[in-house]
């Protein structure tokens, strides 16, 4: 199919030629997803660790909810944030709808459960191994939190990267709350959807390649970190 081969060549030319439109879209995507991951990790790491260390009424319900929310459909998260931020919604006066901030909020909601649930698992496992020794040393529970988070650091990096993968790959949430506005809220995934429907295959394909490369890079980094840790720290 000559048309497709042609599109592929044009896509490569766009990437290698550092096309400004393409670069702008890529930069915004990375910026939104990185912000979302950073905020989600800051909230979810302590939350997951706390769920692993403390037993309290309602803990089981929270754990089940978090696990279920790991599979939250992005469009549903987007819809919820849309209702919150829309003119008539409770947070409407903030005027955040169709801004990158709204996209960050939606992605935080998407990946916070993933990071929190996986952190809880990792910390619970490590706590099982460390519990007697830490109690023997007289380590209090609040003090165990930073200790265990630090000692699980390498597996937690993988967890955070999983969150980043989810954030950068989803399209439903950012489409609804961002609106795919050219130059303002257009990110890689929403642009791919739009350009494909318009028939502008080279740009869609170019963006797809960049996205694929990014995901590959992130996963390679996760693998490398994990392997290095296993080799060096046992």
């Amino acid at each position: 199919m000559p048309a497709d081969a042609n599109a592929f060549q044009t896509a490569l030319a766009l990437i290698l030629g550092m096309d400004p439109v393409l670069l702008g879209i890529v930069a915004l995507s990375v910026q939104v997803s990185l912000s979302a991951v950073l905020i989600a990790a800051l909230l979810a790491l302590p939350l997951g660790a706390a769920l692993a260390l403390w037993r309290f009424p309602g803990r089981g319900a929270i754990v089940v909810t978090l696990n279920a929310l790991m599979g939250l459909p992005p469009v549903v998260a987007g819809l919820a944030v849309y209702l919150l931020l829309s003119r008539a919604g409770p947070l409407g006066p903030l005027g955040l709808l169709f801004t990158p901030t709204a996209m960050v909020i939606a992605q935080v909601i998407l990946i916070l459960p993933i990071i929190a649930a996986l952190t809880r698992q990792q910390i619970e496992e490590l706590h099982g191994e460390y519990r007697d020794q830490l109690r023997s040393l007289g380590v209090s529970r609040p003090r165990m939190m930073p200790t265990l988070l630090w000692d699980a650091r390498f597996s937690l990096i993988t967890v955070i990267l999983a969150g980043f993968g989810r954030a950068s790959a989803e399209v439903g949430a950012v489409m609804i709350v961002g609106g795919n506005i050219d130059g303002v809220t257009r990110v890689m995934t929403t642009a791919i959807v739009l350009e494909t429907s318009k028939g502008n295959l080279p740009l869609a394909l170019g963006l797809g390649l960049v996205l694929l490369g990014l995901v590959l890079l992130v996963n390679a980094a996760a693998h490398l970190v994990g392997e290095t840790a296993r080799r060096r720290l046992g």
Binding site: E129, Q133, R135, S136, L137, G138, R232
Partner: protein, 244 residues
């Protein structure tokens, strides 16, 4: 049962005696230990012996407060002493050897400027100085156990619990651990240690606690236990005939 342990060290130390009163441990209705009465006083090296499943580890975990009894009472008759425990498989943090030690010092409230020097001192004492920066988890079994002992040493325990600390080690490493135990004792630390190695018990014990099937069979001074144990179970154990 334990009133025969009248040695000079009994009164000389300020370490509170530890009393087990009618202590039992059950798990899902199954009795695992007890009912058991035991009193440990003075600055002795007490070796807890018995076949697998006799309840040796349970006894140590109860004494150290890692486990609460299902019934009965475990209590210190006076101020609770500083304690440390060395486990069969040492649990070391995923950090360097020296960071494992400074962590223990930080937890015990040692001011930051003192931590490194004291940690280095302990590493040197246990022959680990060259391994200071090595990740603790990649040390050999013997080195890991020495690091665990160094960590215990830093907290200056008045009572040290050791749960089969040598069962996975080679003869040289076993010797290092036994020497460390004697060092602790010389510094005035009461020792409570489990083992199933009769020769090790002969080398280390001031007195022996024999457990069998979750029950306390006897608590006897070592020289007496190894020559003429008071109970038929004790005699059978020394002959290597007491199993399960």
């Amino acid at each position: 049962m334990n009133d025969m342990l009248r040695q000079p060290t009994d009164t000389g130390t300020g370490i509170a005696p530890l009393a087990f009163e009618a202590v039992t441990v059950t798990h899902r209705g199954q009795p695992l230990l007890g009912p058991l009465d035991l009193r440990l006083a003075g600055c002795h090296r007490t070796l807890v012996m018995g076949p697998n499943g006799a309840g040796k580890s349970l006894l140590l975990r109860l004494a150290h407060g890692l486990l609460a009894p299902s019934a009965g009472r475990v209590s210190w008759e006076g101020t609770t002493p500083r304690q440390a425990m060395v486990f069969q498989r040492p649990v070391l943090l995923k950090r360097s050897a020296i960071d494992n030690l400074t962590y223990a010092l930080a937890v015990s409230g040692t001011p930051r400027p003192e931590r490194r020097d004291r940690a280095r001192e302990a590493l040197a004492r246990f022959g680990l100085a060259p391994l200071e920066k090595r990740p603790a988890r990649v040390l050999s079994g013997g080195e890991q156990q020495r690091l665990a002992l160094a960590r215990a040493w830093l907290t200056r325990p008045e009572v040290l619990f050791l749960d089969e600390p040598t069962s996975a080690l080679d003869p040289a490493a076993i010797r290092a651990v036994e020497e460390a135990v004697l060092d602790f004792h010389r510094r005035g630390t009461r020792i409570l240690m489990t083992t199933h190695d009769l020769n090790q018990a002969r080398r280390l014990a001031d007195d022996v606690v024999l457990l069998y099937g979750g029950r306390l069979i006897e608590h006897t001074p070592a020289e007496r236990f190894f020559t003429q144990p008071r109970t038929p179970e004790g005699q059978a154990f020394l002959r290597g005939e007491l199993v399960w």
